[in-house]
């Protein structure tokens, strides 16, 4: 369905531009979770956020999604202030967040149904997305019948079904085994070749961050600040074999080193 427009998108709309300038966030009278945070992502850029637990990565994604307002600074998404529930922005949550009373197919279909797509196109898209995440046989299952990893894959299928222009991913593959994770990493990049989008990707896996991103942001905690930015020079499309090259391994070492220096002793 979107395949035909894919080429046009590549030229005209690689994704939304995101800019954060001096952003701060505190909850109530608590300490600043994020302070003086400035970052710009070009349209179609893939930015990974990595840092110690509790440093504000999820909060950052929620700010960009417009689910919570910043306490200081400015955020712009595609040239406008972030608005909760804006067309083309989708968030993949840290837990799969499926509705237990809807079958897998109905869960994937939910965003399409809510925005009023016709039923025929919806079902075709749901089938394609479930094929993509390797769960075509699970369409009729309820979430409780799936493993944690399968549930996460359904959640990914649900997000991709709307062909987002900006995708915010909060540790989507954290619960998966390494093989599945590698495959889904490759699939995610393949989907992005066809339907480009800007991505913010929170992860605890250095390997995943290096394989997926244009840029890795290493965060320090209390308050959340940018400790280090690492550019990833590899061009897309990236082949699975990239993981075995010395350049790739060197970048993993560099990122791990940067991460170790921000982890509390």
């Amino acid at each position: 369905m979107r395949g035909k427009e894919g080429f046009n998108n590549l030229i005209m709309d690689p994704g939304l531009h995101v800019r954060l300038a001096g952003v701060g966030k505190r909850f109530g009278a608590g300490p600043g979770v994020i302070e003086e945070f400035s970052l710009a992502a070009a349209p179609g850029e893939f930015v990974s956020l990595i840092g110690p637990s509790g440093c504000g990565k999820s909060t950052l994604l929620r700010l960009i999604a417009g689910l919570t307002p910043p306490s200081a600074g400015e955020i712009s998404v595609g040239g406008a202030a972030p608005l909760a529930g804006r067309e083309g922005v989708f968030l993949i949550f840290q837990d799969a967040n499926l509705l237990p009373w809807r079958r897998v197919a109905a869960n994937v279909e939910l965003p399409l149904m809510l925005r009023g797509d016709p039923a025929g196109a919806r079902h075709e898209r749901v089938r394609a997305m479930l094929d993509l995440v390797g769960l075509p046989h699970a369409a009729g299952h309820y979430p409780w019948q799936l493993s944690g990893g399968m549930r996460m894959r359904v959640s990914i299928a649900r997000a991709l079904s709307v062909a987002p222009r900006l995708l915010l991913l909060d540790e989507p593959f954290g619960a998966l085994d390494e093989m599945t994770r590698d495959r889904l990493n490759e699939d995610l990049l393949a989907i992005r070749e066809r339907d480009p989008f800007t991505a913010f990707f929170v992860t605890h896996s250095v390997m995943e961050a290096v394989f997926l991103s244009n840029r890795i942001i290493v965060l320090s905690a209390n308050p959340g600040r940018i400790a280090r930015e690492i550019a990833v020079p590899f061009s897309y499309p990236r082949r699975p074999e990239l993981r075995e090259t010395p350049e790739f391994l060197a970048l993993i070492a560099e990122t791990s080193h940067a991460l170790r220096s921000v982890l509390p002793r």
Partner: protein
């Protein structure tokens, strides 16, 4: 083996209770106008079957109407209160006040306004069933997971879509719990209702009315039989709600899948 014990244990308890009943009666020489035997109660029930069937229909009708009204009004009111804090604050204290006022006091007022008979009985049943439905369902509407609510925001769902596809399904388990409690209370409400506001036709009224009639005629085994009838009516209501619970939740809710999960 497991299937067999499921039936054997309650059956054994039943036989034991009957033995104690007959034993006590024989041991202390209790006369039948104080404590009839189960056999005598059944015989009386058979003898009075026309009256009892008629009275259970009368009471059942009042119970059902009051129950349905309470469930419907309770559901809608909960929905309204769940989506407007101001409305909740405005209504809730008065709903509580109504719940605190004993039904025995409300019943004469209903009779005053509605006259003796069905309308007053339905009103009493409504009053007794209403609160558990409202309290549980309101809780249900407010208990949808925050992550789900955010998903609906991200999906740009309209208010109505959020209610239809998130709030109502998420509230279902709570709503059905409220309904189950109301189901046990509805027959009690209706019997209380015709005890206090019941009417008769050719000496036949609702179960509550017949209780008074049999007592005044000293038909003690028949009095016990009305108790059995009331009990059966209660089971009918609870069974109905349990069936609905099963139909709506069996596929996804933990209360049914918990045992299947391993």
């Amino acid at each position: 083996m497991k299937r067999a014990t499921r039936w054997l244990f309650p059956l054994g308890t039943g036989i034991l209770l009957l033995a104690v009943w007959y034993g006590a009666k024989r041991l202390w020489q209790i006369p039948s106008f104080v404590l009839p035997t189960p056999g005598e109660i059944l015989a009386a029930a058979w003898q009075e079957r026309r009256t009892l069937v008629a009275s259970v229909l009368i009471t059942g009708r009042g119970a059902l109407l009051g129950f349905v009204a309470a469930v419907g009004v309770g559901f809608l009111l909960s929905l309204v209160m769940a989506f407007s804090l101001r409305l909740k604050q405005s209504f809730y204290p008065y709903i509580l006040m109504l719940q605190m006022t004993p039904v025995v006091i409300l019943a004469p007022i209903f009779v005053l306004w509605l006259g003796q008979g069905l309308p007053a009985i339905v009103a009493v049943t409504f009053m007794i069933c209403f609160f558990p439905v409202v309290a549980n369902t309101t809780m249900g509407f407010l208990s949808a997971d925050r992550g789900w609510a955010e998903l609906f925001v991200v999906c740009r769902a309209t208010r109505w879509q959020e209610i239809r596809y998130l709030r109502i399904p998420a509230a279902m388990p709570y709503f059905l719990t409220g309904m189950k409690i109301a189901g046990t209370l509805a027959p009690i409400g209706a019997i209380t209702g015709d005890f206090l506001a019941g009417t008769q036709e050719n000496g036949v009224g609702g179960i509550g009315f017949m209780t008074i009639a049999y007592f005044s005629q000293l038909k003690i085994p028949a009095l016990f039989a009305t108790g059995v009838t009331a009990c059966l009516l209660g089971f009918l209501f609870v069974g109905g709600v349990s069936l609905l619970h099963w139909v709506l939740l069996r596929r996804w809710h933990d209360s049914f899948i918990g045992s299947r999960r391993n």
